[in-house]
């Protein structure tokens, strides 16, 4: 008689959809691969160094705080990997590696673990990590360099020692399209924005890859299509209205949509399952709120870019939105 090695006690339903949380997370990771390839294409080795540092910071922190019997088991769900990748995509290519690593530590430690781990956080961990970096290293995170075609040359600042900034000697500093718009009212050609031949963070240059990734994720129902649609609609309507009022002073809606981190934030960060609302009505409120905040910050705020704060602010509102947008139950 064979003795059972394990007794399973379960109740209905006994069938399960093939998607599991780790599968969903890893699928998001795979869709990020082309985005990274674009970043490597434009920024070369620097992009790789920054990415490795940010991802390493996230994975190490996740491993360190893992409560599972087998330490590191939680790395398998892929969520720390996503956070690391997304954080890297929000950083400039010349960013010192030690800072990127520290950003990863904060993203996972303060953005996720402290709230209770997977699914428990209120703020998107990657954006929280970036917000920390923005506060701690305001100069380094706003030093942008143009894609220079020197694939193998690490930018001097990448290898700066901990607690040092490094010096930008040979790199060509260049304002981002949003900064050019904000501070000198100069718009970048749309085609450059679309293909990514501009200065900016690793992941905010090539629009076309992000759009394709977003379409795929929405088709796979991994992200809720209402979020990108809501954000882009709100951005389009508000910035379109401003553009109609004064096309000299305000940027065109197409420029607003393609420049900066809007697409990256729309596809990968606002759609974060954990930090976006549950109910359909709530999702509309949340996504339209993000869109409006982005335009408000970009146009009237002190910063050229507003996607990060817009998403974080709406993240903060999500529990309230969930509470006040109850679903209508069948038969009531």
């Amino acid at each position: 008689m064979v003795q059972p090695s394990k007794i399973t006690i379960s109740t209905s339903p006994f069938l399960h959809h093939r998607d599991t949380t780790p599968k969903i997370m890893w699928e998001v990771v795979y869709t990020l691969v082309p985005v990274f390839l674009a970043a490597f294409y434009y920024f070369g080795l620097s992009a790789l160094l920054v990415s490795v540092a940010a991802i390493a910071g996230c994975l190490a922190t996740e491993w360190f705080f893992d409560k599972n019997a087998q330490r590191g088991a939680s790395l398998r769900d892929g969520s720390a990997m996503i956070t690391g990748m997304l954080l890297a995509l929000t950083l400039p290519p010349g960013f010192p590696m030690w800072m990127a690593f520290l950003g990863g530590v904060v993203a996972i430690g303060m953005g996720k673990i402290i709230w209770g781990g997977l699914g428990q956080n209120i703020f998107n961990p990657a954006l929280l990590g970036r917000a920390f970096l923005q506060a701690a290293f305001p100069t380094a995170i706003t030093t942008w360099e143009a894609p220079d075609g020197q694939y193998l040359a690490a930018r001097g600042t990448n290898l700066a020692l901990p607690f040092f900034q490094g010096e930008t000697v040979d790199a060509v500093a260049m304002a981002t399209p949003l900064a050019q718009m904000k501070f000198s009212q100069q718009a970048t050609p749309v085609m450059d924005l679309f293909l990514g031949n501009i200065s900016g963070s690793l992941g905010e240059t090539c629009g076309v890859v992000l759009i394709l990734a977003g379409l795929y994720l929405a088709w796979r129902k991994i992200i809720n299509w209402r979020i990108p649609v809501g954000i882009l609609l709100a951005v389009g309507v508000l910035s379109g209205a401003l553009y109609l009022i004064d096309s000299q002073k305000f940027a065109s809606p197409v420029f607003i949509a393609l420049a900066g981190g809007l697409l990256l934030g729309t596809v990968y960060m606002a759609t974060d399952l954990v930090t976006s609302p549950l109910t359909p009505k709530g999702i509309w409120i949340y996504s339209i709120g993000i869109g409006l905040l982005v335009v408000l910050i970009r146009v009237w705020g002190g910063l050229p870019e507003g996607v990060m704060y817009a998403i974080l602010l709406m993240n903060a509102a999500t529990p309230l939105i969930n509470k006040f947008t109850r679903t209508r139950v069948y038969g009531y």
């Binding site: 064979v2 209905s12 339903p13 069938l15 399960h16 399952l273 209508r328 038969g331």
Partner: protein
């Protein structure tokens, strides 16, 4: 299949729901086969919802096949009949499919009998009053054969002040694996139409709908053909293949485009819903005098050698039904009664088939995989799955903290435990199980408050 699917015409459905793998191909083309008689039968007295039947036979007494052995124990109760010619071996406590020991009658089969039905043809329905009809259905031992086993005559009795405009025959069979209703519709289409005509005499509905999911195109076409000859206005409706399409409320929404108000019954929207098997059994009682002593059971799963649809006498030990289907192919299968979405686990093959047994499933890891439970990632898939538009994610979080009252505020009592939320949950959270617990806690508290 392209031709048949265009022949079915446009499909209707409800909002939300899920698409589990169907596994129907294992048994959907096997004709119903009659199970040979076995040596012993065990007939539990409480096979239905309501008061148990009361035994009217004594130990050692000879009984005929189809003879009443227990009478209804009240209005919400039905009669019970012997499935074979034989002797009453014992009236005692026996293991039940629900895991309990409960009173039942054990009958030893007479090995020399020809097992002809002891026919007492009832009065033809054409000559009955409504009251007599209800009594006859109760005498026939008829219960809802979709699984709930609610006495049919109680459902057929329309309370004063209510009226029934539509009769709905539920042939959706949205549970994966199960094909018994499918085969019954194909092979007993005439009896089903006849049963509708009988019922319509006493429940004067204007229209009869027969609802069938589109994965049973043969049943739809056969029934449409059979319905042509009927005096009634019968529409055979093709419904989209989606779980839980066969839930009463979902079917009504799909066909009438109307919601059943919370806490109300289908009759409140002028509809009476019945499983197709029940109506076929009713026709057979009135036309052939056959009380509910046998039913079609789907035996399926990869752990059984020969999946089949078997016409089994009520009371047959499940072990013998499984042996009839070639026995097990796996040493420790997972055994379920009913479908895999709402069915119950069964640990013991030595229990009888009862009136509510629609399927005996023997599954292996090929079909059932346990997934690890992780934290909720608030993906909202459960909200998109729930056919009642509840918020399972929120209710699951409340259940974990034991906040039963808040769960009630989120309408957990409306949940009919279809399991769609647990099915889609990527973190493998046993949502529906936590709602069962929550509902039980809320009911207990209410009962206690009532007592004072």
């Amino acid at each position: 299949m392209q031709n048949t699917s265009t022949a079915i015409g446009p499909l209707q459905t409800f909002r939300h729901g899920v698409h589990p793998e169907e596994f129907k191909e294992l048994s959907c083309n096997s004709r119903i086969e009659r199970m040979p008689f076995v040596e012993e039968y065990i007939l539990p007295l409480g096979q239905h919802i309501g008061a148990p039947s009361k035994a009217v036979v004594k130990e050692g007494q000879r009984v005929r096949r189809g003879e009443m052995i227990a009478e209804p124990g009240g209005f919400v109760s039905v009669a019970l009949h012997s499935p074979v010619d034989g002797t009453v071996a014992a009236i005692d406590l026996f293991d039940q499919p629900n895991g309990q020991m409960a009173p039942g009658i054990k009958i030893k089969t007479d090995p020399f009998s020809t097992q002809k039905l002891a026919v007492n043809l009832p009065t033809p329905p054409e000559n009955l009053t409504t009251k007599e009809f209800i009594a006859a259905v109760q005498q026939a031992g008829l219960v809802g054969m979709g699984g709930a086993a609610f006495p049919a005559h109680v459902k057929f009795s329309i309370p004063e002040g209510k009226s029934c405009k539509y009769l709905m025959m539920n042939g959706c069979e949205c549970e994966p694996f199960l094909t018994c209703d499918h085969r019954v519709m194909v092979e007993y289409a005439g009896d089903l139409i006849d049963g509708c005509e009988i019922l319509q005499r006493f429940v004067p509905a204007e229209k009869v709908y027969i609802a069938v999911e589109a994965n049973k195109p043969d049943a739809i076409l056969v029934l449409r053909e059979a319905a042509k000859k009927s005096r009634l206005d019968i529409e055979v409706v093709g419904l989209e293949v989606k779980y839980p399409q066969g839930a009463e409320k979902m079917m009504i929404s799909a066909i009438l485009g109307e919601e059943v108000p919370a806490g109300k019954l289908p009759l409140d929207v002028g509809t009476m819903v019945s499983n197709v098997g029940t109506i076929v059994a009713m026709s057979q009682y009135f036309r052939k005098g056959l009380p509910l002593i046998e039913r079609v059971v789907t035996v399926s799963g990869t752990a059984v050698k020969r999946p089949a649809n078997v016409l089994v006498p009520i009371g047959t030990p499940m072990r013998q039904v499984v042996d009839y289907c070639g026995g097990l192919t796996h040493p420790s299968p997972r055994m379920l009664l009913g479908g895999p979405m709402m069915g119950a686990v069964q640990k013991n093959l030595d229990v009888p088939v009862v009136k509510g047994t629609s399927g005996i499933l023997l599954l292996t890891d090929q079909e059932v995989q346990d997934i690890n439970t992780l934290n909720c990632i608030r993906c909202g898939r459960c909200l998109d799955a729930c056919p009642l538009f509840l918020n399972p994610a929120r209710m699951g979080a409340l259940a974990r903290k034991g906040l039963w009252e808040e769960m009630e505020d989120y309408n957990v009592l409306d949940c009919f435990e279809c399991g769609s939320c647990s099915f889609v949950c990527p973190s493998g959270i046993p949502l529906v199980q936590s709602f069962r617990v929550g509902k039980a806690m809320i009911r207990e508290r209410k009962a206690r408050e009532k007592e004072g």
